[in-house]
């Protein structure tokens, strides 16, 4: 194990993760709103925002899928040491993390059942940048409309059609995060 994987966690886990969660909660409640989170020093290949979300939410009860360039030895070690989360295949994942091209197709992940729609994965999408432009968002959590630089449009529309089943998305870039729950209606701009 690379010693670098042992460092880079929260300095004060109870307080730091509370602050991160509050931003993630508000991001999920207000789709498209971009917030900044910090507190961790992740290994290369993982953004500080994505690492902070994982350290706040993942533990030994939540299998995590590492997609594409996020599946490196040091990221596996970092995840295991700081969260205890097992690394899993797509079909068993509670969380999946990676760039969009490595995560798709989204139909591979658990999207819940009609009786338990909450048994669905949350995808953490690493983005080159996040901006309040591009796809037009409406639905719960949004007063009039919001815009977010989504990587694609069609898969999110497919996801909306599954409601109440479906995946929920957290987008990360550097220390920025935004979210897109399954309820959001995605339109072209």
């Amino acid at each position: 194990m690379d010693a670098a994987a042992l460092s880079g966690g929260f300095a004060n886990p109870a307080i730091d993760s509370a602050r991160v969660f509050r931003e993630v909660l508000q991001a999920m409640a207000r789709p498209g709103r971009i917030a900044r989170i910090s507190g961790v020093g992740p290994p290369p290949g993982l953004s500080p925002a994505a690492a902070a979300v994982l350290l706040t939410l993942a533990d030994d009860t939540t299998p995590v899928h590492l997609a594409g360039p996020c599946d490196t030895a040091i990221i596996r070690d970092y995840l295991r040491f700081h969260t205890g989360a097992p690394v899993a295949a797509r079909g068993r994942a509670a969380f999946a993390i990676g760039p969009w091209e490595a995560l798709v197709p989204i139909i591979d992940y658990p999207f819940g059942s009609d009786e338990y729609p909450d048994h669905a994965a949350t995808l953490i999408v690493e983005m080159p940048a996040l901006a309040a432009t591009g796809a037009r968002l409406t639905g719960p959590g949004i007063r009039d409309e919001a815009y977010l630089s989504l990587p694609e449009i069609a898969p999110f529309r497919e996801n909306r059609r599954l409601f109440p089943r479906g995946l929920d998305f957290i987008f990360t870039s550097g220390d920025a995060i935004a979210a897109l729950p399954r309820t959001t209606i995605v339109g072209a701009r």
Binding site: A14, A18, F21, D59, S113, P117, A120, P140, R143, P181
Partner: protein
């Protein structure tokens, strides 16, 4: 606060509750099961709300707790003191100064803002429970969007009483999908659930359920075209502050049938009296709390 982890709960428990909260926000009105913990207070005293609040708090928060609208009842005072001790956060009785408000059975009269979170204590989260006692069946009914039984119940009220007789815990439909129990708030408060700028979270400790209403979510009270929903209140002004737009408690004041109607929201009533409003039973002079 030495001796306690921040906000009392251990980190593993908070992560579990936080994951449930995110799914609850993503599926508005759907009850997410969670592994509710024993809390240092009995079930029925707000253990669900306390766990949700504990999972959401940050050190910068200012917490307000109300019980039936009042800041000064045992339940509200105890929960406020609990979090002041285990999370070392500021507390307030003013709706406008609070960032998190935990409530038992009321929504404050003052309009809520985007930077506030309202946490409801919920006794029975399942709106269909008294119509169908089996969890396996109610779960199926929600999955199939089969809410006919609820409409029959409301119709029977009209047949028997000439109106829908439910005055609290009046069922709502969220975004045209899930039927949800808004907790035992008076139906007077139901319209405040709709299109609310604040995030609304619901915690049921004994029943182990968490659910949520994201901001600006469509929340409709169930009704019929010819018997539309009406948010009612006693037809009196508040005896202390004279308000005609607030929800009132009826207080018996002697053994000869005397009674007075006062605002259930104590902060709202105090604010109005501090601003000079007087009801018919107001003291001629009173010193207002800060």
């Amino acid at each position: 606060m030495s001796g306690y982890n921040f906000a009392y709960l251990d980190e593993q428990t908070k992560r579990m509750i936080r994951r449930a909260l995110l799914k609850a926000v993503a599926i508005p009105g759907y009850q997410v099961p969670f592994a509710s913990r024993e809390m240092p207070m009995p079930y029925g005293w707000g253990t669900g709300g306390v766990q949700v609040t504990a999972a959401c708090l940050v050190p910068e928060d200012t917490l307000k707790v109300i019980d039936q609208g009042a800041d000064d009842t045992t339940n509200a005072v105890s929960i406020r003191a609990f979090f002041a001790r285990v999370a070392d956060i500021a507390t307030t009785e003013h709706t406008r100064d609070a960032s998190v408000i935990q409530t038992r059975h009321r929504i404050p009269e003052a309009p809520l803002r985007e930077d506030q979170i309202l946490v409801f204590q919920v006794p029975i989260p399942e709106p269909l429970r008294f119509l169908e006692p089996r969890e396996t069946e109610t779960r199926k009914m929600h999955a199939l969007e089969e809410y006919g039984l609820m409409h029959v119940r409301l119709y029977e009220d009209i047949a028997r009483h000439g109106e829908i007789a439910k005055s609290y815990a009046y069922p709502v439909r969220v975004e045209g999908r899930y039927v949800m129990d808004p907790s035992p708030i008076p139906k007077f408060d139901n319209p405040k659930l709709d299109d609310c700028p604040a995030l609304q979270l619901f915690g049921a400790g004994r029943e182990q359920r968490i659910y949520a209403l994201p901001p600006y979510t469509r929340v409709e009270s169930l009704d019929f075209e010819d018997y539309p929903f009406k948010a009612s209140r006693p037809d009196h002004p508040c005896a202390l502050c004279g308000a005609r737009d607030s929800y009132l408690d009826e207080v018996v004041i002697d053994d000869a049938g005397g009674r007075m109607f006062v605002c259930s929201d104590t902060d709202y009533c105090n604010d109005r009296r501090a601003a000079g409003h007087r009801g018919e039973m107001a003291a001629p002079f009173e010193e207002m709390p800060e």
